[in-house]
């Protein structure tokens, strides 16, 4: 046993507030039961304990929600921007006041460590609402004409990796620009979206401006295909994104997609090595690697490959995997059994294809969905683990010799969401950034988010931008 063994430091589960045994939808300002009888369960992925049942939204539920949003659109879009801004500022403040509750609830439902929900998710959620609240009365200065109009009713489908943050990315700009929304959270993480519905009521948001409808992919398909929806915003897998794009092809509905990624994190021989190692760890082990812009392909210059690998393994040995509510946990639970199976399948393929697998010695809890932080070396570009998005705490390491080769390898993917560059040479950063086909390029850092900065992909990582001034465009009729 180590000399300095951290005692358990658990955040209180009770801080999550009351979790109801069953949930319906939030439509037209009220919590209502589904028209159907099918219910789904959401579990705590760290224990497999059922947290609550919630409704599987039917087509009739979707109709009701879209109709409520349509009805609310007339008066909401007619409000002066400053008035809409007031509601958003109020929501932002309530989120800050209730941030501990929301952070604990998010950790329980998603499996991610409380350290991250507390220090990353919740501050960013509030920041997004504050940021877009500020735009609400300044849209004429956004560069989209003197009086840019909202699109109408927005259907928004979000993933399970950052449930509340993705909700904020979707709802804040939509409301600021005068749209009304129907949002469907992921079927493994509906609880914080339903809690957000309470916050909408607490903020006195007019009825029907925000509607939350729960369910799995069937509900999502019904919502995104609904004929009275003017705009669809989807974040999730490329496969589902393609299906939505096919459905909407030839219709008047606007679409923005934020899909998968297989980002290259590129380390040059003149990088600040200690900080690069932190960036590699943050890039792939943050949020259990359930990050679309995760730095899942490490491209390291061959001359420092061994140095970087030694330092990386040493650093990985200090990662603390376990109870998401323990304040000292670095890596929590995998969100679902299905995702765990996907990670296991791809890592098995990595081994079968000849890559060298390594994980630090770490004891995983006996119940729940867990996966040890893993790094594959001797990966070649033809391996599945170098090409497919794993969406888990699994890093594939490849090498390069020259900057040109680094660019060629980094761009050699159907995706293009993000990339990272580690070098002390400023001119190389600028040269690389102009060559990389990725929506976000981080230099000497990774996984940094800010509401003022647009985010989105190239190629099969999607289209449209969220965040910043650019994020307004998706919700304006321009």
């Amino acid at each position: 046993m180590a000399l300095f063994d951290y005692a358990p430091a658990p955040e209180s589960r009770a801080a999550a507030g009351d979790i109801a045994s069953t949930y319906g939808h939030f439509i037209d300002g009220e919590f209502v039961e589904s028209t159907g009888s099918e219910a789904l369960k959401t579990v705590d992925p760290s224990t497999e304990e059922v947290l609550a049942e919630f409704a599987q939204g039917t087509e009739a539920d979707v109709d009701r929600a879209v109709a409520a949003a349509r009805k609310a659109f007339t008066s909401w879009s007619a409000l002066p921007g400053a008035e809409r801004g007031k509601y958003l500022f109020r929501i932002a403040r309530i989120i800050q006041e209730r941030s501990r509750e929301l952070a604990v609830l998010e950790s329980i439902d998603n499996g991610k460590p409380i350290k991250e929900t507390r220090d990353v998710d919740l501050p960013l959620v509030a920041a997004h609402f504050f940021y877009y609240a500020g735009w609400a009365d300044k849209l004429e200065f956004a560069g989209y004409g003197s009086n840019p109009r909202p699109v109408g009713v927005a259907a928004q489908v979000i993933p399970w990796n950052f449930p509340l943050l993705m909700l904020a990315w979707k709802i804040a700009p939509a409301l600021a620009t005068g749209n009304t929304v129907v949002l469907k959270p992921a079927e493994t993480t509906p609880l914080t979206a339903l809690r957000f519905a309470e916050i909408c009521r607490q903020a006195g948001l007019p009825k029907g401006v925000v509607n939350i409808i729960t369910g799995d992919g069937r509900t999502g398909a019904a919502l995104t295909a609904h004929p009275d929806v003017d705009k669809v915003a989807f974040t999730g897998s490329t496969e589902v994104g393609r299906a939505i794009a096919r459905t909407l092809a030839g219709t008047r509905t606007k679409l923005s997609l934020e899909l998968g990624g297989k980002a290259a994190n590129i380390v040059f021989d003149d990088a600040p090595i200690d900080q690069a190692v932190e960036g590699i760890v943050d890039g792939i082990f943050f949020n259990q690697g359930h990050v679309c812009c995760a730095g899942s392909r490490l491209l390291v210059q061959e001359s420092v490959h061994d140095d970087v690998m030694d330092a990386l393994k040493r650093r990985m040995s200090t990662l603390r995997v376990g109870d998401p509510l323990d304040k000292n946990t670095d890596i929590g639970a995998i969100n679902s059994a299905a995702q765990l199976a996907r990670i296991q399948e791809l890592t098995a393929a990595g081994e079968a294809e000849g890559a060298e697998r390594w994980s630090p010695a770490c004891e995983l809890p006996s119940t729940g969905y867990w996966f040890a932080p893993t790094v594959f070396s001797n990966v070649s570009a033809t391996h599945r683990i170098a090409r497919e998005e794993i969406f888990g705490p699994v890093l594939s390491v490849l090498t390069f010799r020259t900057p040109e080769e680094a660019v060629a390898k980094a761009n050699n993917t159907p995706y293009g969401l993000s990339a990272g560059i580690w070098t002390e040479k400023g001119s190389r950063i600028l040269w690389m950034a102009s060559k990389l086909r990725a929506g976000v390029v981080w230099s000497n850092t990774f996984n940094k988010f800010d509401p003022t900065s647009p985010f989105g992909g190239y190629k099969e990582s999607g289209y449209g931008r969220e965040g910043g001034r650019h994020g307004l465009e998706a919700y304006l009729d321009v």
Binding site: A2, F4, D310, K327
Partner: protein, 336 residues
């Protein structure tokens, strides 16, 4: 900086498992080669370094872990008084506090050392009697280091002759900032010699960088390697006499340096942050860094020290709180 990277440099320096080998002369054989070596160390990204230090600062240390850390921190303190107004009475009082920090509570560990000016060494030695507490003396024209080599050597010799167990020297920051690395290397090596006693033993040498005056993290990394190459037993952030003293980030640079140096040479060097560490919460953050950057090998007073004065009382109050469940207040610890 990584193990292999350091090893590669070690080969360049042709340093074997001991610092005493002649191979050291290679890297310090000329100003040019020493500069090439120090400037060849990997750079430090300031934002990333500070983020790492801040991240480790969020560790939550509770119950048994806190009790362990409080006692460990007490045992790592170099209880310090470095004032113009220091008197024999003040130093004696400090020594009593070092021996028995919490009267009526004999299970509280004693501190690692007391740290005083050289002229106070005999008084401290006498006051400590046979207690296993070292006397550390600041020397070499502390705190500015602005004196000629003979003065610095005499200052050190006086302290060692008076019985100092440890010598805390300052480097010449002016020489460092103007790039005269070899001059500092030679200064440290000379002081190291002056630490030797007639019986063949030697006082432990701590080298103070005054990181607040070196300013950049790259400079602090270079100073760390420079001091270790020249034979430092400990490397220390600050004198406590300037605006910016020990911070988690600059201490993290020292920790990375001793980690890499041991990987490269097999020689283990200690770390001492000094100045500005006043609360138990602060001390915990440093111990978490020792734990996660350096590990068990450095978790002892032999390899990690706090240069502090007011920290001890806060640790004692937190210790009492942990034992009794309530806060006692500053009247229940002694003012020395």
């Amino acid at each position: 900086m990584t193990e292999r990277y350091a090893c590669r440099y070690a080969a360049l320096v042709s340093m074997s498992s001991s610092l005493a080998t002649s191979g050291l002369a290679d890297v310090a054989s000329s100003e040019a080669s020493l500069r090439r070596f120090l400037h060849g160390l990997p750079g430090i990204d300031a934002v990333g370094l500070q983020a790492r230090a801040a991240g480790l600062g969020t560790r939550s240390i509770k119950t048994t872990a806190k009790a362990y850390a409080i006692d460990l921190a007490i045992s790592m303190i170099d209880l310090t008084t470095l004032e113009g107004a220091d008197t024999p009475g003040k130093v004696r009082s400090l020594c009593q506090k070092a021996r028995n920090p919490d009267p009526g509570n004999p299970d509280v560990p004693h501190t690692a050392a007391v740290c005083v000016y050289p002229d106070m060494v005999p008084i401290a030695k006498e006051a400590l009697g046979g207690a296993p507490i070292n006397v550390a003396a600041v020397a070499t024209a502390f705190p500015s280091g602005r004196a000629g080599l003979p003065v610095k050597l005499a200052d050190t010799a006086e302290a060692v002759a008076a019985g100092a167990d440890e010598v805390d020297m300052v480097i010449d920051r002016g020489a460092f900032l103007s790039g005269r690395y070899l001059e500092i290397y030679e200064l440290i090596a000379e002081i190291k010699k002056a630490c030797e006693r007639p019986d063949g033993t030697a006082a432990h040498l701590k080298v103070i960088f005054e990181t607040g005056e070196l300013v950049t993290y790259d400079n602090i990394r270079r100073a760390s390697w420079l001091a270790m190459l020249a034979g430092a037993d400990f490397i220390k952030t600050s004198t406590g006499k300037v605006a910016v003293n020990a911070t988690p980030a600059n201490t993290l640079v020292l920790m990375e340096a001793v980690r890499d140096f041991r990987n490269a040479t097999g020689v283990q060097v200690g770390v001492k942050p000094a100045g500005g560490i006043r609360t138990t919460k602060d001390a915990m953050k440093y111990l978490v860094m020792v734990n996660e950057i350096l590990g068990d090998d450095w978790l002892s007073p032999d390899w990690f020290r706090f240069g502090a004065s007011s920290l001890l009382n806060d640790l004692l109050m937190q210790r009492q709180k942990l034992a009794s469940g309530r806060y006692s207040g500053p009247d229940y610890v002694t003012v020395d």
